[in-house]
Amino acid sequence: MQQTLQFIDPTQLARISDLHLLARTVVEGFLSGMHRSPHAGASIEFAQYRPYAQGDDLRFVDWKLYGRTDRLHVKQFQDETNLRCTLLLDCSASMDYGSGALTKFKYAQMLVAALAMILRSQRDAVGLIAYHEKRVTHLPPRSDELHLRRILSEVQRLAPERATNTESTLQFLGDVLKPRGMVILVSDLLHPADAMIDQLRSLRARRHDVIVFQISDRAEQTFPFERSTTFIDAESTSELFAVPDLVREQYLENRSKHFDAIRRECLAGEIDLKEFSTDEPLDRALTFYFHHRSRALMTSSAKRGRARVRS
């Protein structure tokens, strides 16, 4: 963990204005710190040896191994996944809040860029949808380098504004996406969640892997204010005068209720949800993504009864 903390400091990363450079810095640094991944290879990769059985294709017999051991073994290879991932970036005004050096949106920008870079490095197709109350950007998944640059350029251009309407975007996504893709939602989830959860479940029903990165600010998590203040809602511009000492407990309880409900629904719908604070290193989020990928593969293999192994 200590190594991870030394790896990427989001405050330092925020000083890199070029998002492409930023994403490459994150991804290369992140990958160099990891062990070799079974998913990192291109094309067909060797998985294991298996004793030859009658009917096995003789093309996959390892003759060199036969020369050394005098036994016949066949090589097994893991099939390429051909993942199509769509990144959903919440661009609503509530994302424009930050009590520290970074706003939630800036953090989300960096995260989306890093994910896109990783996906591209795995030769997966990656697409982008940015939205607030409307869709702002829609780039369908593709795996070429030019497309990645377009995504990064688009992410860099975005600015948070207006209210949020996640469910309509998810509904649109369900309509346009081919089944068995991956959807990664990056949002602060500060809106009524019922409709959104329904849409996420709908995506799951279409065999999409769904990951939700919930971005929070430390001040939202603890409500550390001391002085009485009039709070202005970032999206609705409605004002509320509050005495922090008096309302803190209730605030934390309300917030906890809201996110517990979302978490519960996500768990029930096999949707991975993870909360990240803007002062946390980005690689934690990336690690979470890889763990999810690994688990998702294992799970799908188990469900199919066997790995999609070509022998």
């Binding site: 203040t229 009039t230 809602d233 970032a234 509320l240 005495v243 000492d245 309300n254």
Partner: protein, 744 residues
């Protein structure tokens, strides 16, 4: 009971109350709304809580403002002016009018205004002059000391206490050249009124407090310019009792109102320099708030301007100018340094006097002692070697010729040193006593030849001393005593005051005369004439005998060395420290150290001159007066009085023509225009608590005074600064407790 501020400028600090107000305004939550990602989780605060919180903040702001206010008020010295119970009664009253006649009142129009105000006060008093009159008035002028011009009552004067008597006395009031001393004058006025209280009230009642039936008002009117220097001139031992009202009448105006400002010659120093010249340095101070350019300062000797210089001095600053004058063989030079007249002309000059140092004649009585290689006389004559640059003229005479020498010599010696005597003859002892009684000074070294009985009978009995003889019959270098105590404050031991100089552990006393006061005279108690200057370490019996004694006899005095100053009794003569001891002893005995030529008005010329109490005539010239002839006794009595006029005072013996003169100058502190607020003046002298009151000079009756009676509406003014400080700290404590608890 009006509240006034003695330092009102500090009250301007009360404007600091805006600081908490500003801070609260700037930090008002309503003024700084905060954009937050979402208010969906924030519950609405209860409106009552918000209102309560606003009130709490207002209260906190008020607390902070009050704290600042208390601080500002405490520094501005709030003073609650007192009110007398008798003031309300409108009853009869005794008035004492105090008129300041110090020289600072000589500023333009100030004394005239004071006379006018005094006349107004007298005119407003209905005092027909009968002893049972409803109102009585006394007039008292004061400067360095008070002077009663019109008494409140007098047995042989039916007009005493009347307005007529006071008005008539007022015409005789004149300015003096003295400085102000409020304490002694207020004490005198309080004494007049307190004495009157004692007489009026019941015998059984404590003195100094009014009788329950006596509702006379007692008022002191102080007409003055209220200079600060006058408050520091005398110590205020006791404040006025509360039943006396103090009414200040300020005629000083304000320093800033002064038209031309005041400059004065505040100091003068004279010293002889090479080439038979005198250097006279004068310090000129500009007391005003404006520059003084193109000033001219003159040196006047013998009413003739010798030198004139220019000077310039900044506001509230001083400058120094110097002159050189040739002595031209004169033994005395007198004159003054003077600057151009300003609004207070009296302090524009300062007098100086210089006299050529006079050689002091020392008569040494010594019997020849051929058997002693180094007798005491040898050491003493070498210690005051006349060949050196020392002011001593020595002559030696034997014991048997001493009386004749004293009788026949026209010039009396300044000091007689007796040593190496082979006992004390009756004639010599009588001559010594007569010489000292007539104002002479004697240094007597008691060697081992003296027999105790003869010494007591012929000499010491007359000095109220008694010798118990020598410590031991035969001296031995192996048995000795050390000095255990020295009076380092005495002039003789002045050179040894530094810690590095007063190690006398190597000075040994092998033998000495055990001398003490005669029986029945406890040392230092009943016999004030004896002064032990050095004491030897104690014997086994616990007794500590003196080594050096000073004892007065008639007009003169003796210094007795019990150790004889010979090598058989002490090793002191061989020690280098013996030289300053001998020199300082002679300087002390001849009064050379007391020769001071510059004096300040109000001082007495003690020590400056020792005229013989004989009937020889002396000629005295006072400043501004013609010369007059006095006997020695009359002159001595006159010189013991405080001096009242500035100038040159000189006197000379009619016979030998030797003259002395001193310069008498004003107290320069009186020129300082710094003034005290009349309210503070009242506060300084009026009592606040009953335990501060007293009948002043009528004895300390404060302890007996009826505190309850004094407290009943008779309290004078009180300064509330400490209460405000206390209130401020209390507010701070409340704030420290309240602020953290306040819902933010």
């Amino acid at each position: 009971m009006p509240l006034v501020f003695l330092a009102p400028l500090f009250a301007a600090g009360a404007t600091l109350v805006v600081v908490p107000w500003l801070v609260h305004q700037i930090r008002r939550p309503e003024r700084e709304p905060m954009r937050f990602s979402s208010v969906m989780f924030i519950p609405k605060s209860d409106q009552r809580i918000i209102e309560r919180r606003r009130l709490q903040h207002l209260l906190l702001m008020a607390l902070r403002m009050a704290t600042f206010l208390m601080l500002a008020f405490a520094f501005s010295r709030p003073f609650l002016a007192g009110r007398l119970a008798s003031e309300e009664s409108g009853s009869a009253a005794d008035h004492v009018i105090m008129l300041d006649t110090s020289f600072s009142m000589g500023a333009e129009g100030r004394f005239e205004a004071a006379i006018e105000r005094a006349t107004e006060i007298i005119n407003g008093i209905n005092a027909p002059g009968a002893s049972d009159a409803s109102e009585r008035v006394a007039l008292l002028t004061f400067a360095s000391s008070p002077r009663v011009l019109a008494a409140l009552e007098a047995e042989d004067d039916v007009l005493a206490g009347s307005s007529e008597a006071a008005r008539a006395a007022l015409t005789g009031a004149s300015l003096s050249e003295e400085s102000t001393n409020y304490a002694s004058a207020i004490a005198r006025a309080g004494e007049i009124l307190a004495r009157n209280v004692d007489r009026d009230s019941d015998e059984a009642k404590p003195s100094g407090s009014p009788d329950a039936g006596d509702d006379r008002r007692r008022i002191i009117h102080v007409i003055s310019d209220f200079q600060s220097a006058g408050l520091s001139a005398g110590e205020i031992h006791r404040k006025l009792p509360p039943f006396i009202e103090l009414r200040p009448v300020d005629v000083g105006g304000h320093a800033s109102d002064e038209s031309g400002g005041n400059r004065s010659v505040v100091d003068i120093a004279v010293r002889e320099i090479a080439g038979d010249k005198l250097r006279i340095q004068a310090k000129i101070k500009n007391w005003s708030e404006s520059d003084s350019h193109d000033g001219r300062v003159r040196l006047i000797v013998g009413e003739k301007t010798v030198v004139e210089n220019e000077f310039a001095v900044g506001p509230r600053n001083a400058t120094q100018t110097s002159f050189e004058v040739e002595i031209q063989g004169r033994s005395r030079v007198e004159g003054r340094v003077e600057i151009g007249a300003d609004e207070l002309p009296i302090d524009d000059r300062r007098w100086f006097a210089w006299g050529a140092p006079r050689a002091r004649s020392v008569l040494l009585i010594a019997d020849p002692k051929p058997e002693v290689r180094w007798p005491a006389s040898w050491f003493l004559t070498h210690a005051i070697n006349p060949g050196a640059d020392l002011p001593w003229e020595t002559a030696t005479v034997g014991q048997k010729d001493f009386a004749a020498r004293l009788l026949n010599d026209p010039v009396r010696p300044d000091v007689v040193m007796a040593c190496d005597l082979k006992g004390m003859s009756e004639g010599a002892a009588t001559s010594l006593l007569d010489y000292a009684a007539g104002g002479g000074s004697v240094l007597l070294a008691l060697n081992s030849s003296f027999e105790a009985d003869a010494l007591n009978e012929r000499l010491l009995d007359d000095l109220s001393l008694r010798s118990e003889g020598l410590l031991r019959a035969g001296a031995s270098p192996r048995r000795f005593s050390l000095l255990s105590w020295l009076d380092l404050d005495h002039q003789i031991f002045a050179p040894f005051r530094g810690a590095q100089y007063n190690d006398f552990s190597q000075i040994r006393f092998y033998n000495y005369h055990r001398i003490g006061p005669t029986a029945g005279m406890a040392e230092g108690e009943g016999f004030a004439g004896m002064n032990v200057l050095a004491r030897l370490e104690g014997l086994q019996s616990g007794e500590k005998f003196p080594a050096i004694i000073e004892v007065a006899h008639g007009q003169g005095n003796f210094i007795i060395w019990t150790f004889g100053f010979e090598l058989a009794m002490t090793n002191l003569p061989k020690d280098v420290r013996s030289l300053p001891i001998v020199q300082q002893t002679l300087r002390h005995l001849t009064g050379a150290a007391d020769e001071r030529l510059h004096w300040v008005i109000g001082e007495t010329l003690h020590g400056a001159v020792r005229p013989s109490p004989s009937d020889d005539l002396w000629r005295l010239v006072e400043p501004g007066e013609a010369s007059r002839e006095l006997t020695g006794a009359e002159l001595a009595r006159f010189l013991a009085l405080p001096m009242r006029r500035s100038g040159i005072e000189s006197w000379s013996a009619a016979g030998d023509g030797v003259a002395s003169s001193v310069a008498i100058n004003l107290d320069s502190r009186e020129s300082d225009p710094q003034r005290v607020a009349p309210e503070e003046f009242v506060h300084r002298f009026m009592s606040v608590r009953p335990d501060e009151t007293s009948s002043l000079v009528a004895g300390d009756h404060s302890q007996e005074a009826d505190a309850e009676g004094l407290a009943e509406g008779l309290a004078g003014g009180r300064e509330l600064g400490r209460w405000f400080i206390g209130a401020m700290f209390a507010l701070l404590l409340v704030e420290c407790w309240y602020a953290p608890r306040l819902v933010r």
